[in-house]
Symmetry: C2
Subunit: 401 residues, 2 copies
């Protein structure tokens, strides 16, 4: 029934929706007074602390001046812009991208994920997904009637790479999964899959005829001494890999809603057909903002990485000193600490964090069966983020069982 | 199978996708020489001839300066902007709109239509749609596994109102349809449903427990002496009507991709949940452009209507003098003429129009079983549109059977 289908899409705890939550009766649960400090919304990055990449506004204005030509692009997006991006993305990922048939511009990477899953998943299909992983992955599979086959990632285990359980992955493929959907770098853990893991995923995908959807939204924000293996460069046939990226995170262009999917031309053709009835196209003028992408001024990306690495290091120290278990992210701006046993339920603790300490985080339950975890996006004002991290540790201590 | 599902979504002949069509072998079919003249793309309005409503760019820039607050709105859109719009839309449509729960901002009205159909149609459900009507309506119903139950509109019959066959509509409801989806003013015919027709639709919907999705995208562009009946003002319970509008057409803001659905709070709640996995939200900065809507300078809308009415009158005269059968649109900027029997198939004629006469039109088959019709959006440069209309008549005469 449609009612059930939408109940499974609950967004009350989704990042950014906190404004729609009632405060609830957290006052009665409070231990101690409010902890003062500048509020920090860790549910998403702060584009005021890290402003959009330079040039975005100029390209938007030029597009507006160009008029109808830019307002009404092909459903898959402006041919000129896709041609430019196909070169940049081929260079970045190490494998060719067809300029005519290998790209589609979407309203954010969320738009690309939706169209990709819709284009590959039939009702009843098994789909391998990772636990933990981006909260929408499971919802997308279930919305189209697919059956998620979760594959565990031992992200705290200290093993080489992300810690994906390759035995479970193989078992999922043996059980019939023909699509594998995963984020790399991992959201929420900040893990990067090792070259060996990516090679094994590719080998298994080829052996079982699986199509891989690789959400690489954070793959430009790599910390010092990290390397990144692009699954599309493993030699898997072009039709077997769809890669998704976009400038919403590292580049702070989320307010423009831009994403791109590339690879697998037959899948992209379906995605375009669907986009025609979902939203027609990514907003025409906004598409021009992609002209800034991969063309930032020299040193811009490096400086942005350096700033995030500094915040990461400081919050990690606060959390470790406070006794929280957390993996140090290798890329991106997420932390996914495990909390100790608390005297309140996770969702109450999340509400308490907000009302008592001015901190918004996303409960771990959005990412899989993680009732003791929370996710933080630390792309924030440095000092405010570290101070909020200290308040969080203080809160954990107050509510420790 | 997923392949069939996407084959049904064919976009090769959809408006705006002509650039992806091969010219085909139309040269061999050509009668006579090319007909010179300024090319006109009638597949959509020309936002260079009718530029965006004033203030759009300023509001966008202000939103950009506002930063994160405007980049990350609730999934259903900025609360401030929705509150303002709920008042304007209540005044326009003659029935209250809940500011908190009665609105969702979407990426274009296409985004609203998609979310609405997804939120109301289960696999196997019968859905009453109109023939002819907007090409995506049938595709949307079929994509979600629904069964379209077409209801004929005798738009050329000269009857009072749009000519909807109310007997067929009742039969569709009797046969089990619990959703009715229609555009008013009608796309592609330009017909307006009479007050009597709207009253009958409401009466039948109430009697059978049907939810009505009313796509009123063109309801501000009414020609002289026309009146418009809003179905949401008929007294149908709030939960039974979802109205969809947006500033993409009359206001030429299509390049920003903005639409809004209002009414039926429970449906809007589902739509928001789905939007969270489809595209998160309409682009944050773009949403601010809605602040110009219903607040245009005094006389702006009247002047825009006057200009369109003048084009309409001139092309209608050209078509009538040329012997084409066409309904004079009461609103909006579409013409849907019936062509006489031709010596070539419709799709070849459409290609010939493009390659021989520099005219892009949308084949009638996109709107239902109309192999002898084409749709034109006459929101174009006045002189160019009339000249192209003359070339079209000349082409019809050349290929008349």
């Amino acid at each position: 029934m449609i009612i059930d289908r939408f109940a499974a899409l609950a967004t009350a705890n989704a990042p950014g929706q906190e404004v729609r939550q009632a405060a609830g009766n957290v006052g009665g649960l409070m231990r101690g007074e409010k902890i003062p400090g500048r509020p920090v919304d860790f549910s998403h990055g702060d584009v005021d602390a890290f402003p959009p990449a330079p040039g975005a506004c100029d390209h938007f204005s030029k597009a507006l001046a160009a008029g109808g030509r830019q307002a009404y692009t092909e459903y898959r997006g402006s041919a000129d812009i896709r041609a430019e991006l196909s070169e940049a993305l081929a260079a970045f990922t190490g494998a060719p991208v067809s300029r005519d048939n290998g790209t589609i511009i979407t309203p954010g990477t969320q738009g690309a994920l939706f169209l990709a899953v819709a284009s590959l998943v039939n009702a009843g299909d098994k789909v391998a997904i990772v636990e933990p992983d981006y909260f929408a992955n499971r919802k997308l599979v279930e919305f189209f009637g697919g059956q998620p086959a979760p594959v565990r990632m031992d992200y705290l285990g200290g093993s080489e790479g992300a810690g994906l359980d390759l035995v479970q992955l193989k078992a999922a493929f043996e059980a019939g999964a023909r699509v594998f959907l995963f984020s790399n770098p991992s959201n929420p853990t900040g893990a990067i899959y090792s070259k060996r893991e990516i090679g094994e995923i590719a080998r298994l995908a080829a052996a079982f005829g699986v199509t891989v959807i690789a959400d690489q939204l954070y793959s430009r924000l790599l910390y010092a001494n990290q390397t990144f293996a692009h699954i599309r460069a493993t030699g898997l046939p072009e039709e077997r890999v769809l890669t998704i990226m976009g400038p919403s995170k590292t580049e702070s262009l989320s307010g423009y809603r831009l994403g791109i999917a590339f690879g697998a031309p037959a899948v992209i053709e379906r995605m375009e057909k669907l986009q025609a009835i979902v939203s027609l196209r990514a907003a025409g003028y906004n598409q021009a903002v992609l002209r800034t992408w991969f063309r930032e001024p020299a040193g811009w990306l490096e400086e942005r990485i350096r700033q995030h690495e500094a915040i990461r290091n400081d919050i990690l120290r606060v959390f470790c000193d406070g006794g929280l278990l957390v993996r140090g992210p290798q890329a991106g701006s997420y932390l996914f600490p495990t909390l100790p046993r608390l005297v309140v339920a996770l969702h109450d603790f999340v509400r308490l964090l907000r009302h008592q300490a001015g901190i918004i985080v996303t409960p771990g339950t959005e990412f899989g069966p993680y009732p003791n975890s929370v996710r933080l996006n630390f792309s924030q004002d440095h000092a405010a983020a570290v101070a909020a991290g200290r308040r969080m540790v203080e809160m954990v201590h107050r509510y420790h069982a």
